[in-house]
């Protein structure tokens, strides 16, 4: 399982990451993705750097970051399990499972909702990093929680 994005912020690496993507058309989203992949979240200083490089206001960059669920402006130190809570998984029992998982994970692991992983015939489903898990029940999800 890959663990990425826990590097410390460093002005030079922030600038390098921005400049590697700056040439793209509509570069802001690719830049934000690259920064988050590198550092795990996007802090205020980095927002300033992005605004400066792209000739945008900080408010514009903040507006984009806050619009999308994927971007974080606070670090998440805990491991994250994204558990699908959309209709197809609901139909296969994801809601009781999610309540159970939240209790089981306590505060040690973040159980975040995700709306559809596209595995709708074999739910309930979850994603950890880029790894996907299907047909979850208390036993298999419990094992994933304990392994993290």
């Amino acid at each position: 399982m890959e663990r990425q994005g826990d590097n410390e912020f460093d002005a030079e690496r922030v600038t390098t990451t921005i400049r590697q993507n700056k040439h793209l058309e509509g570069a802001l989203l690719p830049i934000l993705h690259a920064l988050q992949a590198e550092f795990g979240w996007i802090d205020d200083t980095t927002i300033r750097a992005v605004a400066l490089e792209l000739n945008l206001s900080r408010a514009e960059v903040h507006g984009v970051i806050s619009f999308y669920h994927d971007f974080r402006t606070r670090p998440e130190a805990r491991p994250v399990i994204k558990l699908c809570r959309a209709e197809a998984c609901q139909a296969r029992g994801s809601e009781p499972l999610a309540n159970w998982a939240a209790a089981k994970a306590a505060n040690r692991i973040a159980i975040e909702p995700v709306y559809c992983l596209g595995l709708c015939s074999v739910g309930p489903n979850a994603m950890i990093g880029h790894d996907v898990y299907a047909r979850l029940d208390e036993a298999s999800l419990g094992a994933l929680i304990e392994a993290l």
């Binding site: 793209l24 058309e25 509509g26 570069a27 802001l28 989203l29 690719p30 934000l32 993705h33 792209l54 507006g63 984009v64 619009f67 999308y68 669920h69 994927d70 971007f71 959309a86 209709e87 197809a88 998984c89 609901q90 139909a91 296969r92 995700v114 709306y115 559809c116 992983l117 596209g118 595995l119 709708c120 015939s121 074999v122 739910g123 489903n125 994603m127 880029h130 790894d131 996907v132 898990y133 299907a134 047909r135």
Partner: protein, 525 residues
């Protein structure tokens, strides 16, 4: 011996990698190939050994399969399986048969034939072929693809774009993901043909970030096919977890690096789309259908289907179904055939109670409407929509008032905030449904206990309950139902895009078809 195992995300989620490792260990001389998925999801991980299928396989089954004693898992020749044999696979013709990134496999199965045909035609001829095929946008709106292309072709020469909408956010849908992961060159070929047809030099594929496997496959496929589609160029872009970005104008804003807010139309994207340039924006399935249309001709495609819905639709059977998966067939199959005959009813063994067609914005159908044929117009006539072809099945455990509440909650969370009916209406909708649920629960508990008993009902906000108890629960309920109908009317006609505009479909269909779940008497419309 050739062993074929899918490396589609769904197969991986079901443990296909562990099964592959087990086979590699147990049969070191075998030619193990990772192929696309057949789409028989209840059988994943599905293993095909010299044409014979076994599934669902766990690493513990590997020895039994190799010794020929795994009769319980053996399904015979996969192509003869009724689930596959009864389909008409045009878009998914290669599913399960090819290695998704192999250019040799793609060539050997008729790949690039459509592009070569298009290269020998004028732009107008390509557009006319697409128009004649009757192909309609598979993203949900069902707009004729040829007309959209014609508008972009007719726009003044200059910078034009092809944008592939791969932000498949609807729950219960996965056909886009299966195309991108299983047959990415077909999508690339379709985009290159769209480029030739309209004079666009560059294409973007906007993929949701929840699909990392699809993004990886597409990036590899784009890199490998660069010279084949040149001078047309394709870039893969990752979304960032906003459902509304599946709406085309919101997607264009997102591609431009902005907040994914919806744009008012007109101007249509075909006139002023990405970066203000004329843009064809089509769903994955629309573009993926193009190579067939060009290679086999418009008539071949139009020969399938019914009425104004021509060709085939990859239908996604999802939720609580025994046999879930990808079922591509000509338009016209009925909902009941899909759910009961093909899908086998609920996996839980309970009866089917409700079927949501078309994702979170689609209507809930009761079994009484199972004779509705899968066709754009027939679904619209039944106050529903086909959308992206997702069919999500619920058993009798479902609480339809809770599903209606979820539809409003989802809209509130995912609303881009630009228009008031959607931004505020969805929140007011959640509150109103909460009032209905509170009144329902109160009425139910007071019918059990003639005197209202403190704290007797099972759920809901105490303040709402108190309010409900001071008035007659029945009056409160009736008022709230009138209010939700009115609110849905405002959202439907006042919202800028389908998010606010279609959220009333699941809400009202739940209310009208399942009034008993809202504490109403049957047929109290």
């Amino acid at each position: 011996m050739q062993i074929r195992i899918s490396d589609d995300a769904l197969a991986l989620a079901c443990g296909a990698d562990r099964v592959t490792t087990a086979f590699a260990k147990a049969a070191p001389d075998a030619d193990i190939r990772r192929v696309s998925s057949w789409g028989m999801h209840w059988l994943e991980p599905l293993v095909e050994i010299d044409g014979i299928g076994y599934g669902p396989v766990t690493p513990a089954d590997v020895d039994a399969i190799l010794f020929g004693t795994a009769d319980a898992l053996r399904i015979g020749r996969i192509e003869d399986h009724p689930f596959i044999a009864s389909q008409t696979r045009l878009t998914f013709a290669r599913a399960g048969k090819t290695r998704s990134l192999s250019l040799d496999d793609y060539d050997a199965t008729g790949g690039w034939k459509g592009l070569r045909a298009a290269q020998a035609m004028t732009a107008l001829q390509i557009v006319e072929t697409v128009t004649a095929s009757g192909l309609r946008g598979r993203g949900g709106a069902g707009f004729p693809a040829g007309i959209k292309w014609k508008t972009v072709l007719d726009a003044p020469a200059g910078r034009k774009y092809i944008v592939c909408n791969a932000d498949e956010g609807d729950s219960g849908t996965f056909a886009d993901r299966m195309v991108m992961e299983g047959d990415p060159y077909m999508l690339i070929e379709g985009m290159a043909i769209a480029g030739l047809a309209t004079g666009a030099g560059k294409g973007f594929i906007y993929v949701r970030s929840e699909y990392p496997h699809a993004i990886a496959k597409l990036e590899a496929a784009v890199a490998r096919s660069r010279m084949i589609i040149a001078p047309f160029e394709i870039e893969v872009r990752e979304g960032a977890g906003a459902y509304v970005c599946g709406e085309e104008t919101s997607l264009l804003n997102s591609l431009e690096g902005k907040r994914g807010e919806v744009r008012a139309k007109p101007p249509l994207p075909a006139h002023e789309g990405l970066f203000g340039c004329p843009t064809v924006i089509n769903n994955v399935l629309t573009l993926a259908a193009i190579p067939y249309v060009l290679a086999q001709g418009a008539e071949a495609y139009a020969a399938y289907g019914m009425g104004r819905s021509r060709g085939t639709m990859p239908i996604q059977l999802a939720g609580n179904l025994k046999y879930g998966g990808l079922y591509e067939t000509a338009f016209g199959v009925t909902l009941g055939e899909l759910v009961d005959d093909i899908g086998g009813g609920c996996e839980s063994g309970r009866p089917v109670r409700a079927v949501q067609v078309g994702g979170p914005l689609g209507a809930y159908f009761p079994p009484a409407l199972f004779d509705t044929p899968f066709d754009y117009e027939a679904f619209a006539a039944a106050d529903g929509l086909i959308g992206h072809g997702g069919v999500t099945v619920f058993d009798t455990e479902v609480d339809m008032a809770a599903q209606a509440r979820f539809a409003m909650t989802f809209c509130a969370v995912e609303s881009c905030g630009k228009c008031t009916p959607c931004r505020l209406g969805s929140t007011r909708g959640v509150e109103t449904i909460d009032r209905i649920i509170a009144a329902r629960d109160l009425a139910a508990s007071s019918s059990v206990h003639p005197e209202p008993v403190e704290g007797s009902s099972s759920s809901g906000d105490p303040a709402l309950k108190e309010r409900a108890s001071t008035r007659s629960a029945q009056t409160e309920l009736e008022d709230a139902v009138i209010l939700i109908e009115d609110l849905c009317d405002t959202m439907k006609f006042g919202s800028l895009c389908a998010l606010g505009g279609f959220t009333p479909y699941p809400v009202l269909s739940a209310l009208h078809h399942f009034p008993e779940d809202f504490g109403l008497k049957e047929a109290a419309e």
